[in-house]
Amino acid sequence: MRATVSLWFAVAKRSFRRYSTYRAATLAGIFTNSVFGIIICFVYIAVWSENPGAGGYDAKDAVTYAWLGQAMIMTVAVWNGGATDDLAARIKTGDVAIDLYRPVSLLGWYLASDLGRALYHLLTRGLAPTLVGAALFDLRYPADLLLSVQFAIAVVLAVTVSFGVRMLVSASAFWLLDDTGVKHLAAIFAMFFSGLTVPLVLFPGWTGDLATVLPWASYLQVPADIWLGKHPGTDAWAALAFQAAWTIALLWLCHLVLGLANRKVVVQGG
C-alpha cells in the first residue's frame, strides 16, 4: 500500500515537472487567459447592468465567476489534453501494450499523472490570471477558512471528474483507433455544460436543472458556487458529495472500459 502511494506520488511529481519545462507555452497561456478574462468581465458587467441579480448573481459574483472560469480551463482541461491525451496517442501507436504489460494499474497511473499536471496548471494558468483579475477588478473571496478548504476539495474533485470523462473519451481509441471526433464532441459538451461559456445559473428552465446534475457541472459551476458562498451551511458538503459521486461513478466506468479494452488487446490482438 505504502509502496503504491509512493509510486503514484512519484508519477505525479514527474508529470508536474514535465509540464513545467514548457515555460514559453505557460507564459503565453497566462497572457491569453488574462486577456479573455478581461473581455468576459466587460461582457458580464454589461449583462448584469441590464439584469441585476440574474441567476442569483450580482455583478461582483459574475466578474469573479469569469476569473474562476479562466483559472479552471486548463486545470480541469476542459478541451481535453493532459495525461488522457498521452493514453490516446499510445493506443494509436500501439505503445499501450507496454502500459498493459506493467504490473501496475493503468487507471491509477494516468490519474496520478493527470493530478500532477493539474496542480501545475492550477499554480500557473490558474493562479496568475486570477492575480491579474484581482488587480483590475473588485472580486469576491471565500468568506471563511471552511469555504476555502471546501473550495480546494472542489477543485480536486473537478479534476477527477474531468479526468474520468476524458479517460472514457481517450479509451474510445481502443475501438475507433482515432478519437479525434469523439474528442471534439466531448470538448463542445464540456465547454457548454461546465458553465464556461454561460454560467449554468443562467440556463433557462429544465435545461438549467439538467445541466446542474450532469458531470460537467463539477468542472466550474460547483467550485465557483462554493467560492462565492452560494451553498450555505451543509449545502457545500452536498455539492462536494455530488462531485464525489460522479468521480466514483466515472472511475468505476473507466475501470470497466479499460477491462474490456485489455480483453480486446489480449484476445483480438489490438
Binding site: 509510486l7 514527474r14 519545462t21 501507436t93 500501439g94 507496454i98 498493459l100 488487446v265 489480449v266
Partner: protein, 320 residues
C-alpha cells in the same frame, strides 16, 4: 522442468479488409502455427526469421499481452495470459521497436519509476545501477531526456530497464535493429556477460544472423509462422549450406581470383564477389588473397536469414 514450455501453440488474427467500395472481407491471418519448443534455465536462444514470420507474436504470447488461439504455454511455471502481473515481476522484455522508457523524462527518472513499479529493494537497485552504468556506459546519458537519445543509447537504456528487477527470463525482440556496428557489438558483449554471470535465460529475436553467430549456441528458425529449424548454428549452416560473400576491390581490374575453398561468382571491373561456406573462417581466405593480389579494400557479407531459409527449402525436400 523447462523455464519456457510451448506446446502446440497457434495464434491467428481476424483482419477486416476493405473490398471495393463498401464491401468488407474477413480474413484470418495465421501468425504462428503449432509451435513446440522448450527453453532451459540459463540458455541463450536465438529466435530468427524474416519480417512477418511470427517472432513478435510469439514474444507477446510469452509475456501474456496476447493469448494463444490454441495450445499450451508456461513461463516459470505460470500461464502468462492469466498471471500476467505476477509473471511481469519475474521477466524482462525489450521491444526493439518501442521503448519502455518515458520520452519526456531523463533516463535516470525512468529507472527510478521502474524501481518503484517493481519494488526493487534499495540495495539491489543500487548494485544493479552501478553494474549497468558501467557495463552499458550509461553515466553520461543518465540525465538526458529519453527523446534526445540516439537509437543505440536508448537501446542501452531499455536493456538496463528490462534487467533492473533481476528477471529470471528476458525476451529481447530485435534489440539490434537499426544499430550501428559498434553499438551492436558492445550490446552483444553485454548480453553474453549477463547470460553468463547472472544466469539469466535469454530469448532473442532478430533477423540478423550475426547476432546469433556471436551469442547463441542454439537457434530456432521461424518462417511463415512455423518453426522450421531448432538446433545449433553449425547445424543450420550445414542444413542450408548458406554461404558468406567476400567482396574484394582490387587496385586494377584483373582475371577472376582463384583461391581455395571460394568461388568467384561475379566480376565487375576491379570489384569481385567470392562466396565461401558460412561455417568456415574468412581469415585464411583473406590472408591468401591479400598475399597474391593488389587489394584496395575488402568486406564480408553475411548470408541473410532469407537466403538461409531459401537454401533450406531447396536443399531439403520437405514432405507433403
Amino acid at each position: 522442468m523447462s523455464v519456457i514450455e510451448v506446446q502446440g501453440v497457434s495464434r491467428s488474427f481476424v483482419v477486416r479488409r476493405k473490398v471495393g467500395w463498401l464491401g468488407r472481407e474477413r480474413e484470418t491471418v495465421h501468425a504462428v502455427r503449432d509451435l513446440h519448443f522448450g527453453v532451459e534455465r540459463g540458455e541463450m536462444v536465438g529466435y530468427i526469421g524474416p519480417n512477418g514470420a511470427g517472432k513478435s507474436t510469439t514474444i507477446k504470447m510469452l509475456t501474456g499481452i496476447l493469448v494463444p488461439t490454441s495450445g499450451r504455454l508456461t513461463v516459470a511455471g505460470m500461464v502468462p495470459s492469466t498471471q500476467r502481473t505476477a509473471l511481469a515481476r519475474r521477466i524482462g522484455v525489450v521491444f526493439g521497436q518501442r521503448t519502455t522508457l518515458w520520452w519526456d523524462l531523463p533516463l535516470r527518472d525512468s529507472f527510478d519509476l521502474l524501481r518503484r513499479i517493481y519494488r526493487i529493494p534499495d540495495a539491489r537497485y543500487r548494485a544493479n545501477m552501478a553494474t549497468f552504468t558501467e557495463l552499458l556506459d550509461l553515466a553520461e546519458i543518465l540525465d538526458t531526456p529519453v527523446r534526445q537519445l540516439s537509437l543505440g543509447q536508448r537501446m542501452r537504456g531499455d536493456i538496463a530497464a528490462a534487467l533492473l528487477h533481476d528477471p529470471e527470463v528476458v525476451y529481447l525482440d530485435e534489440p539490434t535493429i537499426g544499430l550501428d556496428v559498434i553499438s551492436k557489438s558492445s550490446l552483444r558483449d553485454f548480453l553474453r556477460e549477463t547470460n553468463r554471470e547472472r544466469g539469466v535465460t535469454i530469448l532473442l529475436t532478430t533477423h540478423d544472423l550475426v547476432d546469433i553467430e556471436q551469442l547463441c549456441s542454439r537457434v530456432m528458425v521461424i518462417d511463415k509462422g512455423s518453426l522450421v529449424f531448432d538446433g545449433s548454428l553449425d547445424g543450420l549452416h550445414a542444413l542450408g549450406d548458406a554461404r558468406r560473400t567476400l567482396v574484394v576491390d582490387l587496385v586494377e581490374p584483373g582475371e577472376p581470383i582463384r583461391s581455395l575453398g571460394a568461388d568467384t561468382v561475379k566480376v565487375e571491373g576491379p570489384r569481385q564477389w567470392l562466396t565461401f561456406a558460412a561455417d568456415t573462417s574468412a581469415a585464411p581466405l583473406v590472408a591468401d588473397i591479400a598475399r597474391r593480389y593488389q587489394v584496395a579494400d575488402l568486406s564480408i557479407l553475411e548470408p541473410s536469414i532469407e537466403d538461409v531459409i531459401k537454401q533450406m527449402y531447396t536443399r531439403t525436400p520437405r514432405e507433403g
